[in-house]
Symmetry: D2
């Protein structure tokens, strides 16, 4: 059976490719990405994570059962207890201090995607919220896996972006990706109608385009 | 075809009857309701209307199209531009001043139903919100029509509650009831699944029980 | 300096006493509370906790900094990772199964307080939300401490409600109470104005009255 | 006494000038703006207005009194009953049909500002929401007044953008601008603290920068 995610992705292929095979991504893959682009990305991604934690908190608030609340709680814990620290550590490796991260201003593309997700979640139901989150959660897994498969395991000497690639290609992240896909199907089993699908596709493709603009923001910075 | 409303009502008959044929309602119908009970009800119903206006504002915020936003806007306009004034006028007829209304404290039963609707609306989608609103909008129409049919047209001399009964038995209100039923079906056509039905029924029956407790609050006051 | 909590409590003394010295509380203290009342309370309090977890999730969503988000996260973790289990265990001691808890219907008084908090939080800011939560968090600590002080340490043989009393009189809970009071002051330092105080007092006293009605619900059940 | 708006504007002068004296604005003023840029702007501004109606609906939901609810209701009515029609008519004059407007996709800059306002409103209180709305409501009045003052009354033959300029320079719109400034002060009188000001300034300057990016989006389209 096709997952809801596979169906959404297949129905906006051009947007999905423009995001997951973005010039920024390819340049990480072959190690040619300008450092300024990556550093800008890291800072904005830190600000992005804070908003994503808020989105998972919203998912808990919107849970209609303890099980749904706990599902959102796992996502929130992963961000606040694990990913934020990982991120700060990766940033430190690139010379970015906690102060650099906290004092940076959010750029338009960061605001656009994150607030789109949050407003979608407030206005709609849990399925709307998770569909808007999906391009990020699942797309990063897909990108990490592909870049790692293209090159084999990398060291920092071979590619300065090896740590990023290895992180998202890791078994732990791939499992998270898979469980995100399954959680969407669980929700869809109860709440999805064919009449609703076009709107979900619109949400998903909008979120996917906003992700592509997030990559582009990094490249624009390095021009 | 059965409307969603008819199905919900049929599936919680006992709750529905306990609300629409509550002792408070019957006592309005035969004119024996203690005046203290009615005056208490009028004050709490005024506070209730303010929260219902907030619920319709929320419905506009949650609208996914201009058409859905305008549907909520009609409901909001009806409350803020028409019903509030009607209510204040009816209250004046019972000697309640604007100051009486504004300085009154909301009682538990008023808080319970209104905040249940508002939180349901924030946590869920537009269908959840309108299902939670339905027992009020549609139930009042059903009660008004039945009381009027039981007694025929009434004057204030025959029954001190004639104005209330005539208001909700009026063609204008009956049309509003009908359009509320149809709006639920329009939403359900796009967003309803069988898997979702048990939860909608739980929402609807909870809201119906909270409406019955709202009547009971008036009776308790007059003891 | 007076804490915001002390000021609010002093300005609605009658409501606060009606809640913290409610007949239900006194009957727990001397062990005369009918078992049926306590069992009803335990079931409703379980449903209450689920809604309180949602309120803390909302506090995270509304956090304006990582520090504020982490403050709400601690509260959420305490409920989902600790208190729910404690509660289920205490319920088991009274013969209530997980199924009893999950299949129970929320009563009006449970709905009234919890949804009042959630709607207050959605409509207002973080200070409004925490003020609405305060009577529960802080009041239970005050009740636990007073009942324990009145009787000294209790065994289950001396008082069947000893476990409840000891739990809320515990150092861990007393510290939570204290940090809740301090968190209110931290928020108030940044967001409080004298013009705002009357509305905060209204929120606080409404929430306090709804807590008293929550106790009363248990007594009514046992009649 | 300085209004809150004047203070905010004075404290982010560079952002405010970059928005209100943007190249797009100057090119409207001297009639040199490429038609493609204006048409793109008109389409996105239509989508923008829909989201602004949602923001005013949120302001009603968040109103803590009937007076505050009615304040938001006036804004909502102005958009849904008047401005949307005006806008559709202006668009028709530029050959844009209702279908063009409704089928257009929101661009990143449109999403960024509108969802920033909506999320700010959901997370914060009424003052946060109105501060985030202020650059739009008040800035357009300031721009319209200045462009009209620079050139005197214009006809369509003299400047193809005369209708736009005259609309926002009109007495009706200038009065709306003034009442928006006053409403901010009314809210601030009750809810503003000095400790809160830096965050309000951050909100205001972010919203102002997002408005500048909205103009830039039109220019980028016409390249």
């Amino acid at each position: 059976m096709t997952s809801l995610f596979s169906r959404l992705k297949a129905d906006c292929t051009a947007d999905w490719v423009a995001y997951t095979d973005h010039a920024f991504v390819r340049a990480m893959g072959d190690g040619t990405l300008p450092e300024a682009a990556f550093r800008d990305y890291l800072v904005q991604d830190y600000l992005f994570l804070i908003q994503f934690a808020r989105a998972y908190a919203l998912a808990i608030y919107k849970g209609r059962s303890l099980a749904e609340m706990r599902e959102g709680f796992q996502g929130l814990k992963a961000i606040l207890d694990v990913e934020m620290d990982l991120h700060v550590r990766m940033c430190a490796g690139w010379g970015l201090t906690a102060h650099d991260l906290e004092s940076a201003a959010e750029k338009g593309a960061t605001i656009a995607y994150t607030r789109f997700v949050l407003d979608t979640g407030n206005a709609g139901d849990l399925l709307d919220l998770y569909v808007a989150l999906a391009p990020c959660m699942i797309g990063y897994g897909e990108i990490g896996a592909r870049l790692a498969a293209d090159s084999g395991p990398l060291t920092h000497e071979e590619n300065p972006y090896a740590e990023w690639i290895n992180e998202y290609a890791s078994i732990a992240y791939q499992e998270l990706t898979q469980s995100t896909i399954e959680n969407l199907d669980t929700l869809a089993a109860g709440m999805m109608t064919e009449a609703r699908y076009p709107r979900l596709l619109k949400l998903f493709s909008s979120a996917t385009r906003l992700e592509a603009e997030f990559w582009q923001m990094g490249l624009d910075e390095a021009r």
